[in-house]
């Protein structure tokens, strides 16, 4: 049977050409292809791992950011509160000082008015006294024209003065 008898010529060419092609492919095709495939697989794996790491880091950063923001908000609230307190305090203080100052001024004014009044009264008294004396002088001059009444009148006047 020709079909199941290997033909020596074909066996020869098959061995020669197959082995040549095998060694060429082994050196120039399979080696670079296999290494390129495994390199690419490694690169993809690394890239994926890296991406996961970066994602985790981003999440952490975001959480940190949120925390920082919350802290900042608390801080801001605290500062605002303090400022408000300080403002109230300053206003209160200023009010107190102003009141005290005003009171002092009013007191000073009052005492000076008192003094002025006293001085004015004193002056009026002096004037009155002078006028009274002058009047009295004139009266006395009149009255004392009649000697009889002189003594009596002086007494009366003296009494009146004492009452004042």
């Amino acid at each position: 049977m020709g079909l199941i008898t290997p033909d020596p010529g074909l066996v020869f060419w098959m061995i020669v050409s197959f082995l040549i092609v095998f060694f060429i492919l082994k050196k120039y095709a399979w080696k670079p292809v296999m290494s390129a495939l495994s390199n690419r697989e490694k690169a993809i794996e690394n890239a994926l791992r890296q991406a996961d790491k970066v994602k985790l880091e981003m999440e952490k950063l975001q959480a940190d950011n949120l925390k920082l923001m919350a802290e900042a908000r608390v801080e801001r609230d605290k500062i605002l509160k303090e400022a408000r307190l300080m403002k109230d305090q300053i206003i209160d203080e200023a009010k107190g000082v102003a009141q005290a100052e005003g009171k002092k001024l009013v007191d000073a004014a009052r005492s000076s008015i008192q003094n002025e009044k006293k001085a004015a009264i004193k002056e009026i008294k002096d004037q009155v006294a002078i006028l009274s004396i002058q009047i009295a002088e004139k009266l006395i001059k009149d009255k004392l024209a009649a000697n009889a009444n002189q003594g009596e009148y002086i007494d009366k006047l003296m009494n009146e003065i004492k009452l004042n």
Partner: protein, 370 residues
Amino acid sequence: MKLIYSRLSIWFVVIVAGVLLNTPHLLANEPKTAIAKTDSIEKKEAIKPGDIIFEHIGDSYYWHIVSFKDKEVSIPLLVIVYSQISGFNIFCSSKFHHGHSSYNGFEISEEGKYKGKIVETLADGSIAKPFDISITKNVLSLFISLALMLWMFLSTARRYKKHPNEAPKGMQSMLEPLIIFVRDDIAIPSLGKDRYEKFMPYLLTVFFFIWINNMMGLIPIFPGGANVTGNIAVTMVLALITFFITMFSSNKYFWVHIVNTPGVPWWLKLPVPLMPFIEFSSSIVIRPFVLMIRLFANITAGHINVLSFIMLIFIFGAMNPVIGYSFTPVSVAFVVFIYFIELLVAFIQAYVFTLLSALYFGMAKEQGHH
């Protein structure tokens, strides 16, 4: 999806057209029908489907392309023979005038032990077969598919080198899944993750060699159509290479397992070495033999199937032309069906051969843990 269908339909057309183009010469090729100028009764008797089919799946010194009426278009091939008398003879096979004349004492034997081969008539009139390494149809087809392989993989490798870490493109994206398939589904499961790398070049070469040659065999016209992987010489060489690699990578446990199989009663080993004999024949002799037969038989059977359905047209046609014509659509439908199965078989046989080779390498390297 639409693209796949349109591509499939192109394949349909190519296959059917190829089959139809090739059919006329099935009749014309038969020398007796072509030459005989006798009446029609003799012509009908001249159709020998068996011979025609065997001629197609066998080797030839011509690459027949098409016959139309009496004209034959074929590529003459190079004959290289070494004769004891005249040494090396290299000439074109067209010198034989399609087997009708002899050249330098050489001729193509028409019958007997050397039918279809080149024989030499010696001085004493006896016939001898010279050492024949002619570039026959199968050898040329082998060269074409090997050249195709070289071009495919060297250009792919170049792209891998030039554009590392990039998505595959063009032919690379067709070959890469197959390369990864061989690596991840054949080599690693049968050889283990730490040992597979050493065997990858052979497994890849043998996988693509078988697959590409199977596919080339399915193309009905030149440069396809030769029955390379369905030739026992080719499958024998492949099986022998697998066998030698298995032997060279075998370790102590492999041989201990054969000579002194563990877990078997002693009386199966002594005094009659029954178990070693069974183990030896099953794991050393039968394995490569089966590899050789399986590929050869599957691919040859596929070709015979297709040719048989085509021959049916001519068998019926010889009875009555009307029956012949009316049977043609049925035959073509069957041929197309078989062709689709053959496309599948082409891949499956490449897979099976590669997988079994990988398994045998894995067994030869197995450590003694069982």
